[in-house]
């Protein structure tokens, strides 16, 4: 039984007075327990729309999302069903992942089982903080007192409170510095290993996905155009878009070597990927 199964999901955003936006055009993806699957795509490819549907924030236009074999219930005004709470998400923006007005301890306890006794709460908060490598004293503080990298750790700790078996990470290190980013990547890998979680890791950075994911899928214009084991994809990419993506990544070379190809004439007219549904 797969941990997370995305089955032919289509996401179409209807807009008033404009053509509908086909953000996701039939994507299927499976994540097995203990596995990290990477999803790579540039802005406008639909990966963020897919992430929201995968975790249940939005309802797909068609297709199913199955969590541990059972269909996932998208969020409604009712409380999220208990069994769905094993599917959690880590978001891109570390400055918006935590409410600025609540203490860290209070926010970490949001995902803890309701039946937790008062005395056990402090212990649980400490346990979560230790899992992500932060000091217990953080519980009494507020998000503004932490750096971006630390806030992302706190966001991960908050997700861990629900003891998730699957985590969808949507660009979790894009907004972070190199050091913080590397630390978070290592943290996520360790957690997956130690807690036996499955992870869907979404990023625009193919080299990052290569660093963390076992399997990689490349997304373009709402579809998955190539997928396979990460290292194999990197070495022997078949699809021209994947190849272009790889060539465009700047490497440290022995001489100045410009990335990409010399074919760019930026077009006008047919226009902006603004409002891109990525």
């Amino acid at each position: 039984m797969s941990a997370l199964e995305i089955d032919d999901v289509v996401v179409t955003h209807r807009r008033r007075g404009a053509a509908p936006v086909h953000a996701v055009k039939g994507v299927s993806l499976t994540v097995q327990p203990g596995q990290i699957v990477g999803l790579v795509g540039e802005s406008g490819c639909g990966k963020s729309s897919l992430a929201r549907v995968a975790v249940g924030i939005d309802r797909p236009t068609s297709g199913t999302v199955r969590f541990e074999g059972e269909p996932l219930h998208p969020l409604t005004s009712r409380r999220r069903p208990r069994r769905d709470r094993g599917l959690q998400m880590v978001f891109q923006n570390p400055y918006a992942s935590l409410s600025p007005r609540r203490s860290i301890g209070a926010q970490l306890l949001d995902g803890a089982p309701d039946a937790l006794a008062r005395g056990a709460r402090a212990a649980e908060v400490s346990r979560l903080l230790r899992l992500v490598g932060l000091d217990e004293a953080a519980a009494a503080r507020y998000p503004a007192q932490f750096s971006g990298g630390q806030r992302q750790r706190l966001a991960i700790a908050r997700a861990l409170a629900a003891q998730p078996s699957v985590v969808v990470a949507d660009e979790p290190v894009t907004a972070l510095d190199a050091f913080s980013s590397a630390q978070i990547i290592e943290l996520l890998q360790d957690l997956v290993r130690e807690l036996g979680m499955a992870m869907l890791f979404i990023s625009h950075d193919l080299s990052l996905v290569r660093a963390i994911a076992d399997q990689t899928a490349v997304m373009y214009a709402g579809e998955i155009i190539e997928r396979g084991p990460s290292e194999q994809l990197w070495q022997h990419a078949q699809h021209p878009y994947t190849q272009r993506l790889i060539e465009a990544i700047p490497e440290i070379g022995t001489t100045k070597r410009l990335p990409g190809r010399e074919d760019d004439l930026a077009g006008t007219g047919a226009v902006a990927t603004t409002g891109g549904e990525s």
Partner: protein
């Protein structure tokens, strides 16, 4: 290495008063940019690299003070009056920022934004400015520049907006172009195009560049010499690919080791792929 010095930053310090006392954002930093060179400033956010550029352009945040000297065309930019600085900025030294959307006026056509700028600084006629605007959009490789000058920023993609911002920056043929994380907000394929554009501009127009980024791969592709910033000072500098391939300072080594490519390489060596 270029012989003529275009910009010389000498012992620059930038201090900012805060509620917890004075904070030194940049400390005793010296940087040299030669004619026709592309010089890179690398480092994490908060390391002082952007603040250094802000000091050169005279756009430090409220309350911050700069000391030291910034010599450009025989004058110390830090001592210039606002009027004198306005004559330099956008004209002799231009800057391109990270967010192209914020750099462009949303309600003016691209052409107007270029011509307004040109006429203000150089006093050419409207007709001449219009022609130059088309030239500039062609220079930055925007397709169909005659059509593009009539477009509004929201009709452009992110990469095109950045090209338009570069066109505005180059309008008055500045001697130095400062680019502060110009590709960080762009997709990797778009970034590749912009980097190629910068390289070509440097070679064709002879403009010198001060290129700021945290991405060492980008630095390797574009910068002749690089200064590595840490906590407000320069910890290492030299020919870009020399210091990136054989770093002397442990901080440089750490920066290189934190890159995604390094992590990926590590993982492959550990045989982690399943």
């Amino acid at each position: 290495m270029s012989d003529t010095t275009l910009l010389s930053i000498e012992d620059l310090s930038v201090v900012m008063p805060t509620a917890d006392g004075s904070l030194e954002l940049v400390h005793d930093t010296s940087i040299r940019i030669g004619e026709g060179e592309v010089v890179g400033l690398a480092g994490e956010s908060g390391s002082g690299k952007s603040m250094t550029a802000s000091a050169v352009m005279g756009i430090l945040p409220e309350g911050a003070t700069a000391s030291g000297r910034v010599m450009f065309e025989g004058r110390d930019l830090l001592t210039l009056s606002t009027r004198e600085l306005n004559e330099v900025r956008g004209n002799r030294i231009s800057i391109v920022f990270q967010d192209p959307t914020a750099a462009l006026h949303p309600l003016l056509r691209i052409g107007t934004q270029i011509t307004e700028h040109l006429i203000h600084h150089t006093g050419v006629s409207q007709k001449q400015a219009d022609a130059r605007a088309v030239e500039l959009l062609d220079l930055v490789r925007i397709r169909d520049p005659h059509q593009a000058v009539t477009a509004y920023p929201h009709q452009f993609s992110g990469g095109m907006r950045q090209r338009a911002a570069i066109a505005i920056a180059l309008a008055c043929e500045p001697r130095l172009l400062i680019a502060d994380e110009p590709t960080t907000a762009l997709d990797v394929t778009v970034q590749a195009g912009i980097l190629r554009l910068f390289d070509r501009l440097a070679r064709e127009t002879g403009v010198s560049m001060l290129f700021i980024t945290h991405d060492l791969g980008v630095m390797s592709a574009i910068a002749d010499r690089t200064y590595i910033f840490k906590d407000g000072t320069v910890v290492e500098h030299g020919a870009t690919n020399e210091i990136l391939n054989s770093p002397s300072h442990e901080y440089t080594r750490a920066l290189i080791a934190s890159r995604a490519q390094s992590l990926a390489a590590e993982r492959t060596h550990r045989g982690g792929a399943r």
